[in-house]
Symmetry: C2
Subunit: 134 residues, 2 copies
């Protein structure tokens, strides 16, 4: 298992990209809209992990709600699962609370979330296999 | 540059370690007290990065204040700097606000922090060279 990405909710994606590029040496940058989650995402590669900056694309986006309630900041951490079905079964058997079932996230990967109450206030995503590189 | 660790403020370190071990396959676990920062830290290695769980050891610990104000959750992200002096000069020249100067953190590494206002609500640590492995 490894940290796949850290996702940060932002109000303005272009401004946030500029901020992060002032300090980080980004290996690769890619922007994608994830319709399911109603967000526009910038992925900043750092070695074999990434920072994801997320701007809501609709008033009813969950990220919009997060920004209103808590302001800009870290929204979740994502961990690459070795075998997502097995890892999630193990988590559930251990009493972890899963938020919704497996679904499709960016890059068509299977993902699910663990409730922050199960992990000391941290919303954790599990996602399968790393992103294929070109 | 790469993500060195993600630091999470918790009320009870033993309970948090148990929670995280229920879900993560931790390669290596180490507990250390960092006197400077008034915290007891558990480092959970995941591949070449880490999650750090931090419990305050004193009432006047900055982590105690964070827990009172905001509750348990992610406190900061740390990035390994290629050359910390140069990277920090570049950040400052680019208008990033630094929190205090270079100082010594866990494992005797030089560290500093960038103000969350400079990075869309994210407190970012810069630290030099990776932790030596045994």
């Amino acid at each position: 298992m490894r940290i796949d990405h850290i996702a940060i909710a932002v109000n303005n994606l272009d401004e946030a990209i500029a901020n992060y590029q002032r300090i980080l040496k980004v290996d690769h940058l890619e922007v994608e809209t994830v319709q399911n989650e109603k967000v526009k995402v910038a992925m900043l590669e750092l070695g074999d992990t990434r920072m994801e900056l997320m701007e809501p694309t609709a008033e009813d986006s969950p990220i919009k709600k997060f920004l209103i309630d808590r302001g800009e900041g870290i929204h979740h951490i994502a961990i690459t699962a070795d075998d997502i079905e097995k890892d999630i079964s193990r988590a559930t058997a251990n009493g972890m609370k899963i938020l919704g079932g497996l679904r499709v996230g960016s890059y068509g990967r299977k993902i699910t979330f663990i409730h922050p109450k199960s992990l000391n206030g941290v919303l954790m995503e599990f996602c399968e296999a790393p992103i294929p590189r070109e």
